[in-house]
């Protein structure tokens, strides 16, 4: 039941939007918010407009059925090709399905370079120098434009919309596009054409009930716990 659900912009996309707005403020240009989604996604686009995006475009997903990440990437790429762009700003992952695949996929389909997992971004002679967070290290990546950036936590603190922004956003129109506008035949991405299918949604594997150790004698509790970790769970 989705009736009472409040639909929001995912936190990663908030970082992406914030960096786009900061860049516009520093160097000029325009920011277009683009999404693929059903009518209710307009709420998120209005929020982007209220924060400072100039235009908003939604590729309508209504009635398409399950579309996998490659399908979404093809739709987004098709529309982005029709819009002027120096940087495509994205979140490193969506919230919900968390596939974490769209940034590299979209970059490849647009024949652009990309940097994902960006926690810090600087500009140098019209190119981007991005800090990217990997396991146990940071990579410093130089990217020429145009290119795709995948934002993650640490990049910035997203702003709130101002009252003026909210009022202005109400007056703007959201351009609604179809898969055909993206040059994509829905029959090639949705339903049986999807490459990745969810065949079942299950409950996560049940975890065994917790074994509680009384904590009133800390030393005794700690010794018992460590013995259990060593001899029962065998993780020490």
């Amino acid at each position: 039941d989705e009736a009472d659900v409040k639909w929001i912009v995912s936190p990663y996309d908030e970082y992406a939007l914030e960096e786009a707005l900061k860049t516009k403020e520093a160097t000029g240009g325009t920011v277009t918010a683009l999404t693929f989604g059903p009518t209710r996604a307009d709420t998120g686009l209005r929020e982007c407009l209220a924060r400072g995006a100039d235009d908003a475009v939604r590729i309508a997903s209504d009635g398409l059925g399950q579309v996998d990440s490659l399908g979404v990437a093809r739709l987004l790429a098709g529309v982005i090709k029709t819009l002027p762009h120096d940087v495509v700003w994205m979140g490193n992952k969506g919230v919900g399905t968390d596939a974490q695949v769209l940034v590299p996929m979209l970059a490849e389909l647009l024949d652009l370079p990309h940097v994902n997992l960006v926690t810090k971004l600087e500009w140098k002679d019209g190119a981007i120098v991005a800090h990217r967070e990997i396991e146990g290290a940071q990579e410093i990546v130089e990217m020429s434009l145009p290119g795709v950036i995948g934002a993650t936590k640490g990049l910035n603190e997203p702003r709130y919309a101002s009252l003026k922004g909210i009022m202005a956003a109400k007056k703007k129109t959201i351009a609604v596009k179809t898969p055909a506008d993206a040059g994509v035949d829905p029959a090639t991405i949705a339903g049986p054409a999807a490459h990745v299918r969810w065949t079942k949604l299950e409950l996560p594997p049940a975890r065994q009930a917790v074994k509680l150790i009384p904590g009133d004698d800390p030393a005794k509790a700690a010794t018992e716990l460590l013995n259990l970790l060593k001899n029962e769970a065998k993780v020490l």
Partner: protein, 326 residues
Amino acid sequence: MSNVLVFIEQRDGKIRKSSLEALTLGHSLSKKSGGALAAVIAGSGISSLAPELAAYGASRVFVADKPELALFSSEGYTTALDAAATAFNPSIVLASATAMGRDVAPRFAARRGVGVLSDVMSLDVVDGRLVGSRPVYSGKAQAVVTTGPSVAIQVATPRPNVFPAAKSDAPGAGEVVNLDLAALKIRAKVVKMQAAEAGEIDVAEADKIVTGGRGIKGPESWPVLRALCTELGAALGASRAAVDAGWIGHEHQVGQTGKVVSPSLYIACGVSGAIQHLAGMGSSKVIVAINKDPEAPIFKVATYGIVGDLFQIVPAMTEAAKKLKA
């Protein structure tokens, strides 16, 4: 019959453990379906790594060894994987779901016009099709995912720390095939890698994690947790509440907007266990909760729990760990 190709990640000439896990998984999938197993590795001065990959069952090792591949580039490494796939003609391609694997596998998949079974925690081949499972919606549900019947190359990224890495009792031939990557188009390139502070283990690849939440009261309490980390060889994690309060850097954050981890041991101290936190650590093998509130939701997912004051319990655990070692 499914030929399996596994993308191997190295750092400073050392093969990453997560890649050996993917290779071990690839070995069992290729055995099950009667296909061959190959590995592909990119870098500079890395040819000597082939025998190690053979020990895990690789019959062929594709090597892209070039100075301009010394540091990672998504475009360069994807081209190496793509060239190996052209030469080997696999029906399954695996890369561990690390920062690098999550970069290269989707880029390769898009180049070939196929999808990715991303971040799977189980993976099998049934009638030639990959079937995997993956937590979704902050770990509230688990999706069973598979590839469509007409997909020629099935790409999957297994989650690190979930599948075992084991040498094969029937090593592969490890025949080295040098990839000739004539023209590399690289527009985004790593120019420098900065390792984390010495002695700091990253939660993303730690086998054990001790995490502090708002219950630790302030940054002056980290030494209490760090002492236990040192004793256990664990990494230090943090809840979003602790990170947003400015007590520690975001690289320590576990959860939906932080890192997703699957260590063998996760010890949560003063963490309530909000759904967004569970999204990041719910797949840990053993979870320990230390919390003074017996009703805290963290106890619902914990294997072991102590209801008590972390400022008393954690130092006692450090002492007990010392004694256990002695």
